[in-house]
Amino acid sequence: MAATDPMLDSGADFRTRLQTWLPKIVLAPSFAVMVIFVYGFIAFTIYLSFTDSRMLPSYDLVGWQNYERLFRVRQWDTAIINLGIFAGLYIVISTIIGLLLAIFLDQKIRGEGFLRPIFLYPMALSFIVTGTAWKWILDPAIGLETTMHRWGWESFQFDWIKDSDMAIYTIVIAAVWQSSGFVMAMFLAGLRGIDNEILKAAQMDGASNFQMYRRIILPQLRPAFLSAFVILSHLAIKSYDLVVAMTDGGPGTSTWLPALFMYEYTFTRNQMGIGASSAVIMLMTIAAIMVPYLYAELKEQK
């Protein structure tokens, strides 16, 4: 509800009118910046996707040709399927681990102040650094596998990163490592916000710990779930740096993701038209996830 909306007519003095307009004036720069730098650029990209742009933007329209080509390119299929696998596993596993850590940390754990930053710090690193580190660790020749062999576990084998079918899962591992702590923080915040009295009441009702979490606590974490979902899905769709640093799309093209596809086609292969059309498809995917969420979220608060 409005804090103020005096429907002022010309009778109001200047200062009063200024006060009424100030909120809009303050918001205006952000709004302008957003219209130009986000929606203007999106419009520009949509336009480009219908042109024959190659190295630099061109303004000659070619209709749906770029989209037709896009869906005939094999790597695009790979990228889409990979995104499905990656985003699905990444979101689900990060959420589960984040939630478990948060629940466990919420049990009046000694040393929480020590553990929490450990869980949280990966989010501070850039994906480039994370990717490089994991690339080394997962490399069978120099990483985990050899170390295990050296420690006497000769049969240990973990060479997913070298396997076209499994490499995408190693990216999931690294991405989960990076983000699950952040998810943990969101859930922890949610858990700390739950009224203890409700839990006491549930206990009186004879709920076991497990039931208490399933029936009472988790439903109350809905906002945290939603926030986590939105942040994770946006990271998943935008994932680029991590793949580049870890596998650079390999082995072969088995770990391509749409963001990588877009960058490759636009900037390396000089097929800006196809790159733009892939960007448009990505934007539409994001919109398909975000718009219902935003709509529900904002409608509720109206």
């Binding site: 103020t4 005096p6 429907m7 002022l8 009063t16 006060q19």
Partner: protein
């Protein structure tokens, strides 16, 4: 013209009108209470007086100055909020003087004003604390202090006592009343609690559904409610409103209501002319619980006490009083009796009904017949 004039004020959000032609004149020194259930528009009206919400049509004037287009701070008003709205980052002293500071009052004057208010409200020892360190009652005092220090033309209170526990609420109520009597300021006070409305006000505006249902002194409101809503909203337990038939019997108008074991007749004396038109028709009979007693407990000054034999369904002893419920007109009808009245559930009982206090309403318009 009054001290605070609310002239035909309406409020709309888009096409929806939420406040309809409110017209209230408040005199200097009056204590006006806006009372009604939540969503009735009372807080909206208060916010419009404060300048926190715009006025869609009509006019509000304070001391004959139209304030429609004047910012809240220039209206010379002060407001006490339900949550007290104390600035959590400032000390009590800073909270109290923030308004003066904003107006550019020099520090020595601010300090002087603060000291006066603090001593008036007995919060001198709290001045250096932060709101988070205060109890509910203390916060309430600080919030009042913040309003008092500005010496405004009009005080606005938005449900100031609703966050306090029962005991404290009664104490603070008394305190506010004392303060009003001592300072003689003009107050507009919003509450949903009819007891607060009755105890504090010099006049009450009962609001419902965006309309002022009745504006009057507490006694007018209580004794001659304008309609069924006002009748049932004010008073606790609520007024019994029973379906009845108005009949002419033995040359007098009687109300016929269905008792547990057949129709009961209650004679009405000094019936206003309006009643005549309703003879033979359905009406709603309003009787306050305290007007139904045992014969010994009946009001000695009452002129028309009717006896009513009926079966008791439930008794609820409440210390000083006992509430006795019977079935009348197909509804539960509550009577308020002395604690030693001997009514027992399931037993017949001889009730005494003070028909001086009974009112009749039109069943369609729900307006009181007069």
């Amino acid at each position: 013209m009054g001290f605070l004039d609310i002239n035909n004020v309406t409020k709309s959000y888009g096409a929806v009108e939420v406040l309809h032609k409110v017209d209230i004149q408040v005199d200097e020194g009056e204590f006006l209470v806006l009372v009604g259930p939540s969503g009735c528009g009372k807080s909206t009206l208060l916010n419009m007086i404060a300048g926190l919400e715009g006025i869609s049509s009509g006019e509000i004037a304070i001391k004959d100055r139209v304030v429609n287009n004047i910012t809240p701070s220039k209206r010379n008003i002060a407001m006490v909020f339900q949550s007290y709205a104390l600035y959590p980052n400032m000390t009590v002293g800073q909270n109290i003087t923030f308004g003066l500071e904003m107006q550019g009052t020099p520090k020595p004057e601010r300090d002087k004003a603060m000291a006066e208010v603090a001593s008036l409200l007995q919060i001198e020892n709290l001045l250096d604390r932060k709101p988070g360190q205060l109890s509910g009652g203390q916060r309430q005092r600080v919030a009042m202090g913040r309003a008092l220090v500005r010496d405004p033309d009009v005080f606005l209170f938005d449900e100031p006592l609703s966050n306090l526990d029962a005991k404290l609420r009664v104490d603070m109520r008394t305190e506010i009343k004392k303060l009003h009597q001592k300072l003689g300021t003009t107050i507009v006070y919003v509450t949903h609690d009819q007891i607060e409305a009755m105890t504090l006000s010099t006049r009450i505006a009962v609001m419902y559904d965006g309309y002022v249902q009745q504006l009057g002194t507490p006694k007018e409101i209580y004794d001659t409610p304008a309609n069924i809503f006002v009748a049932t909203f004010m008073g606790s337990p609520a007024m019994n409103v029973l379906p009845a038939q108005l009949i002419e019997m033995n040359g007098a108008i009687h109300a016929e209501v269905a008792g547990a074991d057949g129709p009961k007749h209650l004679r009405i004396e000094d019936a206003p002319d309006a009643y005549g038109n309703y003879v033979g028709k359905s009406v709603m009979l309003g009787i306050r619980p305290e007007a139904i007693t045992d014969p010994e407990g009946a009001d000695r000054n009452a002129k028309n006490i009717q006896s009513l034999a009926n079966q008791v369904t439930v008794t609820e002893p409440a210390g000083a009083d006992t509430f006795v419920t019977m079935s009348l007109g197909g509804k539960d009808c509550v009577a308020r009796m002395r604690a030693d009245a001997e009514a027992n559930p399931g037993q017949p009982f001889e009730f005494a009904v003070n028909m001086d206090k009974a009112v009749l309403f039109d069943p369609q318009t729900e307006a009181r017949l007069a």
